[in-house]
Amino acid sequence: MGTGTAAVTGLTGTASARFGDDEDGEDDTEVGATYTALAVGLLEPPEDTDGRAFDVVLAADVASLSDRFGRKSAGGMRSRSGSSRARPARVGIINTRGGTLPEGMEGVLWYVLTGTRGGANRARILQTIEARPRNANQLAEELDLDYKTVRHHLDVLTDNGVVEKSGDDYGAVYLLTDRARHHWDTVEEIIAEVD
């Protein structure tokens, strides 16, 4: 357990330093719960942090930890803090937290997929993106939809934090956000009915 202990200590140290910088105050209780679970017995749950900031902190820490333990970076998922640091192992760690991301996401998914007119096509878009990130053109072609329709759906999904663009240039691919990935079983449950 030598490395395990070192990992948790490193995580706690960096994370607590970053929490002080954060100004937003959303979702604090859930983040607190996560934090405790990850760094059991080492630190009090932070009181005023926001879920997004915590994700970044976590990711940055995981990145530095894998560097420290010589693991290879698994690729550059985007980072919300603007740092270009790759986020290896991010998915693995975050997924093991279980139920600690903002609960609102589930409602957003239900609404954006089954509460609006374009729900069925949005579900198809999500399914396609989940298999492999694509740009609007590829999606239009693959799903046999109008380019403008796809753009509109992607805008709605982006506004609701379900997908995100990787990069700003023309033709940038869209991928699922952490939150959408975390609640993917909900999406699957919804999609299962359409197929």
Partner: protein, 100 residues
């Protein structure tokens, strides 16, 4: 009373149109997704539609009842009519978001 009744009647008529549109969207989604969420939305639209249909009957088709109630309790009658206008505001926003 005249202006109030006209406003409430008009609001109720628009409410009915919006609710039918919402019911179509949500009902279709329910058939497609069978989700609890779409069912709840459909049910909500259906029940509010019933309420507005009744209000439409009172305010527009048979204003006698509305006038009678309003004379008996003017403040309450006006408040009820105002509710119809509030519903219109809420439904406009809801429809706008559902047509996304």
């Amino acid at each position: 009373m005249g202006v109030w009744l006209t406003a409430a009647g008009a609001a109720t008529a628009v409410n009915i149109v919006l609710l039918v549109a919402l019911l179509v969207i949500w009902g279709r989604n329910y058939r497609q997704f069978r989700s609890k969420h779409a069912l709840a939305l459909s049910l909500f639209a259906a029940l509010l539609l019933a309420e507005n249909a009744l209000a439409f009957y009172y305010y527009v088709l048979d204003p006698q009842v509305a006038t009678l109630l309003n004379n008996a309790a003017p403040v309450a009658g006006r408040a009820m009519m105002f509710v119809q206008v509030l519903e219109l505001g809420a439904l406009v926003v809801l429809t706008w978001s559902a047509f996304d």
